[in-house]
Symmetry: C2
Subunit: 312 residues, 2 copies
């Protein structure tokens, strides 16, 4: 399938073409600029949701529940689980897909784990491109789930329209969340496994920490859910809708999206330029020897390589 | 204090100068290239250890214990806790320092939380520079502790000579670790809180997963510790020594360090170039309008900006 055929298939909502397009992103294929240019005019309609939180808090269960509610509402929905590749698992994690089996035969649901190590820019560049493919393929709702609670994962979740941070009692308290810089990117907090001991404490602690910061135009609600039993999910859906309405009515949606695309262009350009720098480093034995012998420090080496690119 | 004075003070092992130098890294100060050039010739002697793992597994307790053992061994030791800034905490987390209070008055111990949002390249560029400062200041052992288990945090820990991944029963199982891509960067695994239920299962599960992968020249040991009671720490210290001896005898230390510095130069150059790209984007209203109106996709915009830098 050439890239032009993939683009046409995506826009025509063909599952095989959509899967192929995401694989091109995953692999960092040479055809990405063409793919990107092809789908871009067809994007902008999807509402995007980011789900992040520590391993084990129940993000996939919540994603599955949101898919169910969205389908009952007649919406087409896609879930993209960002999954750092590991040679131990081959990069394809069955877990998320198995849990989502109830939606496996629904043509209006698309679920995909995406490994990102093939893409030079990592998940922060692969994720928005994959989201645009799903957007162009007519999924009105795109849920991006990230694994882990590091900076890159938080950045990916924060680049969506509505960012949901999931916690659970006993799995990293609110102070740990603050350490991870997660409090300020959340539009909604979910304390899942609310039937467990300590859930009320997590909710209270979180609300207190939120009120320590400066007042913000949107005050992120803190919800308690037991996703495995379906408790609290309708309220979560309602709050997602309320946040989306707020984004639209205040003009925040447009400014947030412009900020995100500028950030992405900056990172894409940097990644391409870094490729040239790396090629020069690989070819220049003398420069590497000077680094190794501590005659030239990393900043000075970077400066020298930048000058060469300017001259090229 | 000008940068030249800071460099002289670092090399003379003055605590105030060392603290100032790390603050310059933290803030992404304009003097960084000069600081980097000044300290670089004095580096290379320190052994570096990375400690990573989910929040709450006991990384700080293990770091404190390693400091105690290193001091009993007569070594000067520094701990750098990488701490993503949050407006809610002001970026300075008392927690790590309080737990390390027993070493507060020892001039041969340096403990510091480092926030990294001021540094444009984030923790992956700030951490190695801070480690070189501590190395140049004569700390024979430098321990880098990262918060969170995301890709960036794993990369920072993996850039040290010996990477220790800490787990605890009930806080993210081995499958979750595999998802986070953490298995392949570890030189040593520590299952802490080994007195809790399920610790033996975590050890077994981890060993099984490790043996699923291809055989590697270094087979990472899996240790059980109860750091709060001091159990298992001498064995951990012994294994760290054994790994270090292996790194030296096989030549792996030299090749790992060359790979790390090349990676860093690449990232530094990319970061500097991204700054030029961003400035051009900010100044070019027409280009931003074409992005917003979906006439120009992110890849094409990046390509156009790269061409301009080549012409500059």
């Amino acid at each position: 399938m050439d890239v032009g055929t993939v683009v046409a298939g995506v826009v025509a909502r063909e599952p095989r073409a959509i899967a192929r397009a995401i694989s091109l992103v995953e692999d960092g294929d040479d055809g990405l600029p063409e793919l990107s240019a092809g789908v871009f005019p067809h994007t902008g309609a999807a509402a995007t949701i980011g789900l992040t939180g520590a391993p084990g808090v129940g993000k996939s269960t919540i994603a599955t529940a949101l898919v169910r509610i969205a389908r009952a509402d007649g919406r087409r929905v896609a879930v993209l689980a960002i999954d750092p590749t590991s040679p131990y698992t081959g990069g394809a994690l069955l877990g998320d897909r198995v849990r989502m089996q109830e939606h496996a035969t629904d043509p209006d649901v698309f679920i995909r784990s995406m490994a990102t190590r093939g893409h030079l820019g990592g998940m922060s560049l692969a994720a928005p491109e994959a989201v645009r493919i799903l957007d162009a393929a007519g999924f009105g709702l795109v849920i991006v789930e990230t694994v882990g609670v590091g900076q890159a994962e938080i950045d990916v979740a924060a680049a969506t329209d509505t960012t949901i941070v999931v916690l659970a009692p006993g799995l990293g308290d609110a102070i740990q969340m603050a350490k991870a810089g997660i409090l300020e990117v959340a539009d909604l907090f979910v304390v899942n496994k609310a039937d467990r001991d300590g859930a009320g404490d997590v909710v209270r602690e979180l609300r207190q920490m939120l009120h320590l910061g400066a007042a913000r135009p949107w005050d992120p609600p803190v919800l308690a859910t037991t996703a495995a039993d379906g408790n609290g999910l309708d309220e979560l859906w309602h709050e997602i809708d309320r946040h989306r309405a707020w984004l639209g009515s205040t003009g925040t949606l447009a400014t947030d999206r412009e900020t995100a695309v500028i950030h992405e262009v900056r990172a894409l350009a940097a990644e391409r330029l870094a490729g040239s720098v790396q090629a020069q480093l690989a070819a220049d034995d003398a420069l590497r020897a000077r680094l190794r012998d501590r005659e030239l420090d990393p900043y000075a080496a970077a400066e020298e390589l930048i000058r060469r690119i300017g001259r090229a």
